[in-house]
C-alpha cells in the first residue's frame, strides 16, 4: 500500500504523519527495553547516562555491575534457585500437559468444556488471587509434609514453589499442544497401527515428532512463566527459595542497585533467543503440516 502518484497534498501529509505516529508508538514499545542495555554498562552507580557515557568515553563504561551479579552470593542464590525451579516445573507441566492435550483432542471426551475450563483456569485467575489461595493452602500443605512425612524444611519449600509454578505453566502447554493437534492427520496413526505398531510405538515414532514443535513452544511458555513469576513465589516461598524476579522485585522496592539493569540485560538477551526459537518452531510446524509459512 504505497502512496498513489495522484495523491493530494492532504493525503501526502496524512500518509507521512501516520507513519510518524506509528514510528513513535513503536519507539514507545521498544525504547524502555533498549535504554536499559547501555545503562547496565554504566561505570557509576547511577540510573542515568553520565556525561562520560554520552561522550562515548570508554572510562564511562564498565562491566562492574555484571561482575557484581556473578559474584554477589545473593544474586547467585537467586540465579541458582531460578535454574532449579523453572526447569523442574516445566518438565512437570509439559509431561502432564501433553498427555492431557492428546486425551482432550480425542473425538469423544465427556465433560470436555468443564475439563478445559479447569485446566485453563490458572491462566485466567489473576496471579494475586492464585497467590492468595496458594498462600493459605500451601502453608498447611508444607506443615503437613514437614510433620507427617518428616521432610526437611528447605526441600519442602522447593516442592511448594515448583508445584505452584508447574500448575501456572499448564494452560500454556495445553493451548499450544491442542493447537498443534488440530492439524494432526489421524490417518497417520491408523496407518501405523495397521502396519502393526503398538500405541506406544505409534506415539513416539509418529505422533510425537509431528507435535514436537507445539510441545517445545508450550514448554518454553511454561518455562518463561516460571522463570518470570514473582507474585506466587513471594507468597508461597521463603527467602531461601528466592528466585531472580524475587531478588529484582525486592531490589526495586527497597534499595535500588544498578546490578538490576545488568540482570535485566541478560534476561532481554535470553528472551530474544527464546522468541527466535519459538518463531522458528512455529514456521517448522506449519511447514510440516503443509500450511504456508506466515
Amino acid at each position: 500500500m504505497g502512496l498513489p502518484p495522484y495523491a493530494t497534498l492532504g493525503q501526502r501529509i496524512w500518509y507521512y504523519s501516520f507513519r510518524v505516529i506509528c514510528g513513535l508508538i513503536f519507539f514507545f514499545l521498544v525504547a524502555p527495553i533498549v535504554v536499559v542495555m547501555p545503562l547496565s554498562f554504566n561505570a557509576q552507580d547511577f540510573f542515568t547516562f553520565t556525561p562520560e557515557m554520552l561522550r562515548l568515553d570508554p572510562a564511562g563504561y564498565s562491566l562492574k555491575h555484571y561482575e557484581d551479579f556473578f559474584t554477589n552470593p545473593q544474586w547467585q542464590l537467586a540465579l541458582k534457585n531460578s535454574l532449579i525451579i523453572a526447569p523442574i516445573a516445566t518438565v512437570i507441566s509439559v509431561s502432564l500437559g501433553t498427555l492431557a492435550a492428546i486425551g482432550l483432542s480425542q473425538s469423544h471426551v465427556p465433560f470436555k468444556g468443564t475439563i478445559m475450563a479447569i485446566l485453563i483456569s490458572p491462566m485466567i485467575v489473576p496471579l494475586i488471587i492464585s497467590a492468595t489461595g496458594m498462600f493459605f493452602f500451601y502453608s498447611s500443605l508444607g506443615n503437613w509434609m514437614e510433620s507427617v512425612l518428616g521432610l526437611n524444611k528447605g526441600f519442602v519449600g522447593y516442592v511448594k514453589v515448583i508445584l505452584a509454578h508447574a500448575v501456572l505453566g499448564i494452560p500454556f502447554v495445553i493451548i499450544t499442544v491442542t493447537a498443534t493437534l488440530v492439524g494432526f492427520d489421524r490417518s497417520l496413526t491408523r496407518a501405523a497401527a495397521n502396519m502393526g505398531a503398538g500405541p506406544v510405538t505409534t506415539f513416539f515414532r509418529i505422533q510425537m515428532p509431528l507435535i514436537l514443535p507445539g510441545v517445545i513452544s508450550g514448554g518454553l511458555f511454561a518455562f518463561i512463566t516460571s522463570f518470570d513469576e514473582v507474585v506466587v513465589v513471594l507468597f508461597v516461598g521463603s527467602a531461601s527459595q528466592k528466585t531472580l524476579p524475587w531478588q529484582m522485585f525486592i531490589g526495586l522496592r527497597e534499595q535500588i542497585s544498578p546490578t538490576i539493569l545488568a540482570v535485566a540485560t541478560i534476561l532481554v538477551v535470553i528472551s530474544i533467543a527464546l522468541l527466535t526459537t519459538v518463531e522458528l518452531l512455529r514456521r517448522r510446524s506449519e511447514r510440516l503440516r503443509g500450511m504456508s509459512p506466515g
Binding site: M1, R19, C22, I25, F28, L29, A31, P32, I33, V35, V36, L39, F47, T48, L96, G97, L99, A100, I102, G103, L104, Q106, H108, V109, P110, L119, S121, P122, I124, V125, P126, I128, I129, S130, A131, T132, G133, M134, F136, F137, V167, I170, I175, A179, S217, F227, D228, V230, F235, M248, F249, L252, L261, A264, L267, V268, S271, I272, L275, R282
Partner: protein
C-alpha cells in the same frame, strides 16, 4: 426384516460399537486424569480454601466456647452489662486461651470490628493471674496439701470416668490450639467428682489435656493453673459434700467450711480494665460469635456488622470502595490508552506487505517476551526524577532543572508503565482480526464516492470492532488483577486492589479480609471472562 448385524467376533454390531466408544472415552479420560487431579489439588483446592476463609469465623467460638454459650441469652439492647455467669465463663475461657497464647489472636480478630479490643485482650491476659492468687493463697494456707499437684490429681482422677467430659475438653483444646489432642493423657475425670464439682472438673480436665498433649508433660505430677483454686472456690459455694467419701473428702469439706473468699468475676474484670464494665466488648463478641460470617465481605465494601445490623464503616476507615473504584477507573484508562496506541499499529501491520509486517511484529513481540520485572525496572529508570526522560527534557530545555517532573509513584507512572506492558495484548488480537478484512471493501466504498474518512469509519472500522473488543477485555482483565507494576511505580496513589490484598496478607495479617477482597476480584474476573468467551471464544486465545 430386522436382522441384527454382527461384528467379526459374533457380537451384535451395535453393542460392539458402543463398547469401542466406551473404551475410547475411558482412554481419553485416563490420559486427562493425571493432569486434572494435579490441577485440582494444586490450584482449585487452594482457590476454594481462599473462598472458604473469606466466610470462616471459628476463632471466637474456638477461643471462648463457654462465654459464647452464656452470652447467647444476653440481650445487648437492654444496655446492661451481662450477668456474673458470663464473666465467670469468660474468666476460665480467657485463662486457658492465655496459656495457649491465643487470646491476642482473638483480640486482633475482634479489633477488625471494634478498635481497642486488641489491647483490651492483651492487657487482660496479663492481669488474669491476680484473681487466682487471691484465692490460691488462703486455700494453701488452710492446708499445704493444696500446693501439691498430686493432691489435685488424686481428687479428680479415677474410675468410673466421665468419658464425655474428657472428649469435649480434648475437642476444645484441639480447636483452641489447632494442634491434635489424641493420645494418652494419663488422666480421666472421675464421674462422681465431675458431678459434684462440675466447673472444677471441667477446668482440671482441660488443663490436664493441655498439659499432656501440648506441653508433653504428665498431669499426675504437675501443679495445676491458678484458675483451679478459683473454680474450686466457685463450686464449693453450692456443692453438697455430705455424701461424698472419695479421695480428698476431708480436704474438700475443710475448704468448704473455711471462709474462702468468694470469687467476684465481674469485679475482677472491671479491675483489669474498665472497658469490661461497658457493653462494647460483650456486644462485639456476641455479634461475631457465629462460625460463619459475612463480616469480611461487608468489611471489603466498607461496611460492618454491628449489633443494630449492617452499617457503613466510620468515614476515616472507608477506603476499599474507593480503591475498587480507582482500580476499575485506572484499568479503563489503561485499556483506552492501549486502544489508542494499538489501533494504528495493528492497522499498519495488517496493511503492510507480509515481509515488512513480520519485521515490525518483532518490535511488538520483543516487549511481550521480555520479563515483566525488566520492563518495570526500565520504567522506573525512565520515569524517575533523576531518570532518563527528565534528563532529556532538561537537556533540550523544556523543563527547568529545579522543577523536574514527578512522573513516578503516582497514577501517571502506573498508567504509562502498564499501558506499555499490556499494549502487545491489544495489538495482537486486533492485528489478527484486521488481517481478515478484505481491502477490496475499502476500494469499493471509495469507488462509490466515499471520502477516505467515510470509507474508514463506515466500512473498515465496524469490521475491526471484534478485534478491539477482544483486545479490550483481555487488557482490562489483566489490568484489574495487576500487582507488581503498581507496587513498584504506583506509590500510594497509583495502587490497585491487589496491592491491598497483598498488604493484608503480609503486613496486617487480616487474612479473612484479604480472602474476601480476593473473592470479589475473582468474581469480577470470571464474569469478564464469561463475556470474553461469549464474544471471542476461549479457544481463540493465541500465543505469540
Amino acid at each position: 426384516m430386522a436382522e441384527t448385524m454382527l461384528a467379526a467376533d459374533g457380537t451384535p454390531l451395535k453393542r460392539s460399537l458402543a463398547r469401542a466408544l466406551r473404551r475410547q472415552k475411558l482412554r481419553a479420560l485416563a490420559l486427562i486424569a493425571p493432569l486434572l487431579i494435579f490441577v485440582l489439588i494444586t490450584f482449585i483446592v487452594p482457590i476454594a480454601s481462599m473462598l472458604f476463609r473469606s466466610v470462616e469465623n471459628e476463632i471466637v467460638q474456638n477461643t471462648l466456647p463457654y462465654t459464647v454459650q452464656e452470652l447467647a441469652s444476653w440481650d445487648a439492647a437492654t444496655g446492661e452489662v451481662p450477668d456474673e455467669p458470663v464473666f465467670e465463663a469468660m474468666y476460665f475461657d480467657m485463662f486457658i486461651a492465655a496459656e495457649a497464647k491465643r487470646h491476642t489472636r482473638l483480640g486482633t480478630r475482634l479489633n477488625y470490628e471494634q478498635t481497642g479490643l486488641s489491647s483490651l485482650f492483651r492487657q487482660s491476659g496479663r492481669k488474669l493471674d491476680d484473681l487466682g492468687k487471691d484465692i490460691q493463697k488462703p486455700l494453701e494456707k488452710l492446708n499445704s496439701d493444696w500446693k501439691d499437684g498430686e493432691t489435685w490429681y488424686a481428687i479428680f482422677n479415677g474410675a468410673p470416668a466421665d468419658t464425655a467430659l474428657l472428649a469435649t475438653q480434648r475437642a476444645r483444646v484441639a480447636a483452641l490450639t489447632d494442634n491434635p489432642t489424641e493420645g494418652d493423657v494419663n488422666f480421666a475425670p472421675r464421674a462422681d467428682i465431675a458431678q459434684l464439682l462440675p466447673k472444677t472438673a471441667r477446668a482440671y480436665t482441660a488443663w490436664a489435656v493441655f498439659e499432656a498433649t501440648q506441653d508433653g508433660r504428665d498431669p499426675a505430677t504437675r501443679d495445676p493453673w491458678e484458675a483451679l483454686p478459683v473454680a474450686l472456690a466457685t463450686d464449693l459455694q453450692t456443692a453438697d459434700l455430705s455424701a461424698y467419701s472419695g479421695p480428698g473428702a476431708d480436704l474438700l469439706r475443710a475448704a468448704q467450711s473455711a471462709d474462702l473468699p468468694t470469687p467476684d468475676f465481674t469485679a475482677a474484670f472491671t479491675d483489669m480494665d474498665e472497658d469490661w464494665a461497658t457493653i462494647i466488648p460483650w456486644q462485639t463478641i456476641q455479634t461475631h460469635s457465629s462460625t460463619y460470617t459475612g463480616g469480611y465481605f461487608l468489611n471489603a465494601v466498607d461496611a460492618q456488622k454491628t449489633p443494630e445490623g449492617i452499617a457503613w464503616q466510620p468515614d476515616d476507615k472507608q477506603i476499599l470502595l474507593k480503591l475498587f473504584g480507582r482500580t476499575i477507573w485506572m484499568s479503563l484508562l489503561i485499556t483506552f490508552s492501549c486502544i489508542a496506541l494499538g489501533y494504528p499499529v495493528a492497522w499498519l501491520l495488517a496493511n503492510l506487505p507480509m515481509r515488512k509486517a513480520n519485521m515490525l511484529l518483532i518490535l511488538v513481540l520483543l516487549p511481550f517476551w521480555t520479563s515483566l520485572l525488566v520492563r518495570t525496572s526500565a520504567w522506573k529508570v525512565m520515569l524517575q526524577q533523576q531518570g532518563v526522560i527528565n534528563d532529556v527534557l532538561v537537556w533540550i530545555g523544556l523543563v527547568d532543572d529545579a522543577n523536574r517532573l514527578i512522573m513516578i509513584n503516582n497514577q501517571f507512572g502506573t498508567i504509562v508503565a502498564m499501558t506499555h506492558i499490556l499494549l502487545p495484548f491489544m495489538i495482537l488480537p486486533m492485528y489478527s482480526v484486521m488481517q481478515t478484512i478484505q481491502p477490496s471493501y475499502l476500494r469499493a466504498a471509495k469507488s462509490l464516492g466515499a471520502t477516505n474518512w467515510t470509507a474508514f469509519w463506515r466500512v473498515y472500522f465496524p469490521q475491526s470492532v471484534p478485534g478491539i473488543g477482544a483486545g479490550s477485555i483481555l487488557v482490562f482483565i489483566l489490568a484489574i488483577g495487576y500487582y507488581i507494576t503498581p507496587e513498584i511505580v504506583g506509590g500510594t496513589k497509583g495502587v490497585f486492589i491487589s496491592n491491598r490484598i497483598a498488604y493484608h496478607i503480609s503486613s496486617s495479617l487480616n487474612w479473612g479480609l484479604a480472602a474476601a477482597l480476593g473473592s470479589i476480584l475473582l468474581a469480577a474476573v470470571l464474569v469478564l471472562y464469561w463475556a470474553y468467551d461469549k464474544i471471542v471464544g476461549i479457544d481463540n486465545v493465541k500465543l505469540g
